[in-house]
Symmetry: C2
Subunit: 546 residues, 2 copies
């Protein structure tokens, strides 16, 4: 700065011109601007923004009674019910950190998470009482206080202890005196990654990043205030990619959903005028199947974000047919969910279906408020050429990247080596500047010294009209080291032999990439809709289906 600079003289931050960025500001504004508009619908329950805000304030008051404050952890094991939404505001209102646990985990993993996170309180849905009881029995340290969140619409009445959410809430005042965090870098949430080996890692996110990604969602989709958002995406998954906060930012309407039930989803889309929803490819495929079966067409415009993997041609095509427009986004828990988006360029909608599928199935460009996405050589940290050929690792840099892994300095340092967050996904940079994933680092198949991208083989097989879903993994081979093996789930009513499918592959890809084995049957998926390749590899090793 030159000597003459006078732009910092007596121009400090004050209470008038500086506040911490926090998504808590969004719900306060939503309650003030849209007090009577519907914030939340769950079965027959409806809450306005004023009511939702009041419930969050009551929850914050309740947490204070349990002496929960800044830096404490509150865990929840809840489906997409109102209490889950409220926890996204009530917990940070007292400065505490929300630890939303994956509801499909086993007792051992739940116990690990409760212990590692030092959770002091746990909100539990009746469906998960069994798992939680077993998890609590495994704890060596002090157990969290359990608050049960009964759901009268479900008729399940199991509970742990006496504390009950609605009863406790009703006793609390609407505590509007909560404060924004003193520091926007303060933690807001903790999310454990579903590692396939070793213990899960606790991803810590902060208020600033949550605020920015919630806003980034609005920019990515040009969301108006009239949005009706259906909760097909679990809120425990990267905090529902920050959409609980996005909906508050615009004063839209949340339609809660306990589980992904495609018939119910179609019904709710019509009934509530749902305009937006998110999900893994399998969620979209289920909706397409249900629409096929019911010969349903959506009467109004509906937009879907699809993440976890690119939309397969069959899903893309069928969703288009029933009137749902899909956009692919890509990200990780470490990036608060979507960190890149396959932005649709002018003119793409005029192209033939196959080309549209190819173009729209890429991981794309940086999400609006994410600073940078790059495909770098992991060793030199230099960008790969934009040739669509040279493989590098996808890396991110920006404000929508986690603080780090909780109490895991080594993993944090590795993840941020060289000033970029390393995604672990391999990709190429296409000439138009769009990133295209090739594979997870650990999913690459090394056959006779050649790298085979399992995703590339999957994409070819996915084009076959009889294939609903496919996953390709490495199979040990005496001669080649590894060879591809394909697990295939056929579309209902389809028939296809191993020989026919292998012949199809030979016509479409290099010989060395053609699977040496095809195994038919349903694919195991995680709670977030991702195919669990480690289970398929185990199957190959133990050989029950082979």
């Amino acid at each position: 700065m030159s000597e003459a600079c006078h732009y910092n003289d007596a121009l400090e931050k004050t209470a008038a011109n500086y506040v911490a960025l926090s998504p808590l500001s969004f719900i306060k504004r939503a309650a003030a601007v849209y007090p009577d508009r519907t914030a939340l619908i769950y079965n027959e329950t409806r809450y306005s923004w004023q009511q939702t805000y009041a419930r969050c304030c009551r929850l914050a008051s309740l947490l204070r009674q349990f002496d929960i404050g800044r830096g404490d952890t509150v865990a929840v094991m809840l489906p997409n019910v109102p209490a889950m939404y409220e926890a996204h505001f009530g917990v940070p209102m007292v400065g505490a950190v929300l630890n939303a646990i994956n509801i499909r985990l086993d007792p051992e993993a739940v116990a690990f998470i409760l212990e590692h996170s030092r959770s002091r309180l746990l909100l539990v849905d009746p469906e998960y009482v069994d798992v939680v009881e077993k998890a609590l029995a495994r704890l060596e340290g002090p157990a969290p206080t359990v608050i049960n969140v009964p759901d009268p619409s479900q008729g399940v009445e199991r509970a742990i202890g006496e504390l009950e959410y609605e009863t406790l809430l009703a006793d609390q005042p609407v505590w509007e005196e909560w404060q924004l965090p003193a520091d926007e870098w303060d933690a807001i949430a903790l999310g454990y990654t579903s590692g396939t080996t070793g213990n899960p890692k606790g991803v810590v996110t902060h208020h600033r990043g949550a605020y920015l990604n919630a806003t980034s969602n609005v920019l990515a989709w040009s969301l108006p205030s009239s949005v009706v958002y259906l909760w097909t995406l679990p809120m425990f998954h990267c905090n529902g990619w920050c959409f609980p906060w996005t909906l508050a930012a615009i004063g839209g309407t949340n339609v809660c959903l306990r589980r992904v039930d495609p018939e119910l989803i179609l019904k709710l889309i019509g009934k509530h005028g749902v305009s937006h929803f998110c999900g893994a490819p399998i969620v979209h495929a289920m909706i397409a199947d249900a629409a096929d079966a019911a010969q349903a067409v959506v009467e109004h415009k509906v937009c879907g974000l699809i993440a976890g993997a690119a939309p397969p041609a069959s899903v893309f095509k069928r969703m288009e047919k029933i009137g749902i427009e899909l956009t692919h986004v890509y990200g990780l828990t470490e990036t608060y969910g979507p960190a890149s988006i396959c932005v649709k360029q002018d003119g793409w909608d005029q192209l033939p279906l196959e080309e549209r599928v190819r173009l729209n199935g890429r991981q794309g460009v940086a999400y609006p408020l994410q600073e940078s996405i790059a495909v770098l050589d992991s060793v030199t940290m230099e960008p790969v050429p934009a040739d669509g050929q040279t493989v590098g690792e996808i890396m991110f840099r920006g404000n929508i990247v986690m603080k780090g892994y909780l109490r895991n300095e080594t993993a944090t340092r590795e993840a941020f080596a060289g000033g970029w967050f390393h995604s672990g996904d391999l990709a190429v940079m296409e000439p138009d500047g769009y990133v295209k994933i090739r594979d997870r680092l650990k999913d690459v198949i090394i056959s006779g010294g050649e790298n085979i991208s399992s995703l590339e083989v999957e994409e070819i097989i996915q084009r076959h009209a009889d294939v609903e879903y496919v996953a390709v993994v490495a199979m040990a081979d005496a001669k080649w080291g590894e060879v591809p093996a394909a697990f295939v789930q056929l579309r209902p009513g389809s028939e296809l032999s191993e020989e026919e499918l292998i012949r199809f592959c030979k016509e479409n890809i290099s010989r060395f990439k053609v699977p040496k084995k095809v195994i038919f049957g349903p694919l195991p998926t995680s709670s977030t809709g991702k195919v669990q390749k480690f289970q398929l590899r185990q199957k190959l090793e133990t050989g029950p289906s082979a």
Copy 2:
């Protein structure tokens, strides 16, 4: 924070997870994501986002040659031409501060601003060469280097010295190595308020606020990437309310406009498919008049933001008729432009016109990413009751409030007294939580000990079908101290006598609020379209029209 807190252990900011918030990130992304889309149209000139970005990088390189760096000031005296847009990015790219001077100012004011701001470089349009030459002649300290920005479409060839923008730019490399500011609190722009007494004050804004208000504009209007934005609003006015940065954030298209020419505006709306524009009421009134004259209707949906004053009924009604939807926003240079918005509630569009005008003519609620608007008692700093009656001062708090006034610690401290920015505007809080301006502090008329809101009287007179525009000011009165006087501009072809208008007022407001004098004629407006009441007061004092 409790002892057990572990959310700050080894979870520091790194290059991977923290970057300064700056609108410079937006143009970098726009160039990467929308390289070939049209960023800027001016007459026959068209630049894509890639070209616009390259030109900004060249400008930054040029500034470096002049040794302009962090904390230096670059002044511009330009209409809404491409160079003006480019300055909004090229200047901050080197860490310098953009001082966009009001093009209607006289040499004395320009000289004061150049001196006070310590501007080192000045970009000038040929139209303002006369004023600038006179201003430069008045300077006591070193004069800034002048770069001329000729406009071949205008045929004006006057210049100051030899330096010429396009020639200089052509010699520069596309310098993509610019860096984001080290600190998002760094100054990005300086804007002098058009004070009616004393010297203007220099409002300093920062990168963080510019980033957030640019984003807030997207949320306020649900702007999609396909926006075509017409530059009816001067970019020197609060940096075009941050819209230069907003357009980059979404990759929309800017249509530049040298001056507010309503016939040309109507033509451009049709030709380029303009979807959004901003302006003072007078700008909208001129467009409505031109549309009336041409019996034009806009074929596609167009949205307008209206600021400076609430939309008068006649403007609101006529714009609606030709297909332009108006939204009222309110703010000040100190709040980067709009800091509140009259959000349209569900159902308002079903109400009768008069009620729609009343509801939509309020200053409303906090702008999406502005933290708070409040109507406070200036002494006690307590909120006034939401009764629509009790008058207080509008105050703002949040990240979209200036750093302060340049080298004016006293004014800064006064503006931020009590932890709120004091707007100087008087208002009431209506029962639905919407703010409604009553008057500028200094525009209140004190008659026989009673406060009369000049705005309230204006609103009544504005309802008369023959009135195009009205301004009410205080007139000295021996008996009452002050009484209201009305300056009225009639609609073309209308006739109205002083007696008729006073009779109309008597039927509609309390006797003591009825103007004692009515003066017909065109109203003097500032370059930003505000009626200049101080000129009207002078007229009353000197008596030429009375």
